[in-house]
């Protein structure tokens, strides 16, 4: 049984950790903090990225806005027929949406009007809701709200309904027919979905107007060509393709995560310097101990194996502790402070919870960025000492 695992060596390594308790406790705390920060950032980034992917998938093929003096203004619905006449266009959907400021809570709700007869919207929103009674919207006195909106309304004593104030000062009472699911919290959290007619009333828009048009093009290859045709047909319109929007969303995300990454690298580097300094600064006692071990018959390999166990035990326990703390911090506490760096500090946006988006790749990245580096930082100075003559080291 020569090949059985050497528990005596592991036991010796663990006893070494305890024998140098104060130094190792310091390393444990610093290392745990470092991994915790790294994990938290990656978890938040993953959650937002998964939200972003959902958003990008749901983007319209082409969006058409009318501009005046560089600002978007309402677009007449009379243009729909001409747009439908373009080859390759399957549908043109007028959208009515905007922001409603709820002064009591000091927040903006994103109000979106939908046409109940429109199947495209029906399928999309039906997928995104936990409990959704689409037919209830037919009474034209109901709405679907995001989780954040529901929470804010409840805290302001609006249980199951809300009174919108229209531009003429009159009230429009709508009941809640459904609440969006957790899957798309980042985008649906502040959303109120209501019948298009009601949305027009609340925004004071006429029946012949829409905020913009969404154009459905079944063949993605035709999108750039159709976009060009629309620009020629209506020079006062801005035509935005799915790809333009996708790049824009991605840029915002990359910019924010890039900024954070730069800050993070600086702090991580500082932490690593501390760790390396602590780990590499072998004390005279430790050097002498290595000398004694070699003098009594330990090979360099034996010394390195023992140091590996020591470093692995410390770094792996730190890793597991930090990872558990990060999961708790991000998914249970909702990442206070760090989350804002990614999503911005807007006080008007309702709160939302980060959806759980954890994959093995993230786990592996965190592991390989931390544990092996710490082990190497510990083993290299030990190897240097162990390579010397035992006689020399013990002196």
């Amino acid at each position: 049984m020569k090949n059985k695992f050497n528990f005596l060596l592991l036991d010796f390594a663990i006893s070494s950790i305890f024998r140098r308790g104060s130094k190792n406790i310091f390393i444990f705390f610093v290392f745990t903090l470092l991994i915790f920060l790294l994990s938290s950032v990656l978890f938040i980034s993953n959650s937002i990225k998964s939200e972003l992917d959902t958003t990008l998938n749901a983007l319209p093929d082409i969006t058409v806005q009318r501009l005046q003096a560089g600002r978007a203004i309402n677009i007449p619905t009379s243009r729909i027929n001409k747009l439908l006449a373009i080859d390759g266009v399957k549908a043109v959907i007028p959208r009515v949406w905007g922001y409603y400021y709820f002064a009591n809570a000091g927040v903006n709700f994103s109000v979106v009007g939908i046409d109940k007869f429109d199947d495209q919207y029906k399928d999309l929103y039906a997928k995104l809701c936990d409990k959704f009674d689409f037919d209830k919207l037919q009474d034209k006195k109901s709405m679907i709200v995001g989780k954040g909106v529901q929470k804010i309304l409840k805290s302001n004593f609006y249980n199951g309904y809300f009174n919108f104030i229209k531009p003429d000062g009159s009230l429009e009472k709508l009941t809640i027919a459904g609440v969006f699911s957790d899957d798309t919290k980042l985008e649906s959290n502040d959303v109120i979905l209501l019948p298009m007619e009601k949305a027009r009333d609340i925004f004071g828009m006429s029946k012949n107007e829409a905020v913009d048009f969404v154009i459905k093009v079944p063949n993605p290859v035709e999108i750039p060509n159709i976009a060009k045709k629309i620009r020629l047909l209506y020079p006062d319109c801005r035509v935005i393709t799915k790809e333009d929007l996708s790049i824009s969303y991605q840029n915002i995300f990359d910019y924010k995560s890039g900024l954070f990454l730069a800050l993070f690298i600086i702090s991580a580097f500082t932490f690593f310097m501390i760790i390396y300094d602590k780990a590499s600064g072998i004390s005279s006692d430790e050097k002498k101990e290595i000398g004694i071990l070699k003098a009594v018959g330990w090979t360099i390999d034996d010394v390195l194996k023992e140091k590996f166990y020591e470093a692995f035990v410390i770094s792996f326990i730190s890793f597991i502790t930090a990872l558990s703390l990060a999961i708790f911090y991000v998914y249970f506490l909702n990442a206070p402070l760090l989350k804002n760096i990614f999503i911005g500090y807007s006080s008007l946006k309702p709160e939302f919870d980060l959806p759980f988006a954890f994959d093995f790749q993230t786990f592996a990245i965190i592991f390989f960025l931390t544990v092996p580096i710490y082990i190497a930082a510990t083993i290299i100075p030990s190897w240097k000492t162990a390579s010397l003559n035992a006689d020399e080291v013990m002196r």
Partner: protein
Amino acid sequence: MMIELKNVTKEFKVGTHDKITALKNVNIHIKKGEVVLLKGPSGSGKSTILSLIAALNKPTSGEVIVDGKRVSKMADNFTSLFRREHIGFIFQKFNLIPTLSAKENVIVPLIPSNPDQEKLNNRLRELFGQFSIKSKMNVIVKNLSGGEQQRVAIARALINNPRIIIADEPTANLDEKLSLEFIKIMRNLKNSNSSIVIASHDPLFFNLDFIDRQIDIHNGAII
């Protein structure tokens, strides 16, 4: 022949340019089971000879052959294995790991070879009994007296049943009573058929009945 030093010279670098010669053309032959005392004042080169025999260091020139193996030419990992299997070294300052217990210190040489736990425990009981420190097995060595620490060091040197026992100034840190006790232990070890090399300038060792031969060393050379 168990130990052979052939024309061994050892120089140590001092600073960047200077060097001191610790041994000059030393020739020593020690037979199996022989007990040899290396005598001489401090700094005469006794400890250097011991560390060359134990392959803790390498000669600048010459050869060191121990139990038929040319240890002066061995690679580092092989010298460690050689020490583990053949050498029991009792150091002048004991060189115990102060934060480990007596028992843990004694088993340190065997840890890499992953010995059978039962056999190891039997050997520990035997050694601790032999040196009357059974009750101190689990005491952290820094809390033991000098004499007890030395007995732990001897037990560690003997844990692997070595064919060669080396003791470097073993009584330098002991009072006379403990020194006599150490001599008693060495006398008993002679019966183990191991070769024993003791380096000391302590007069207590001179003319002891169990010492087969004394070698006088001065300024790195045998007189």
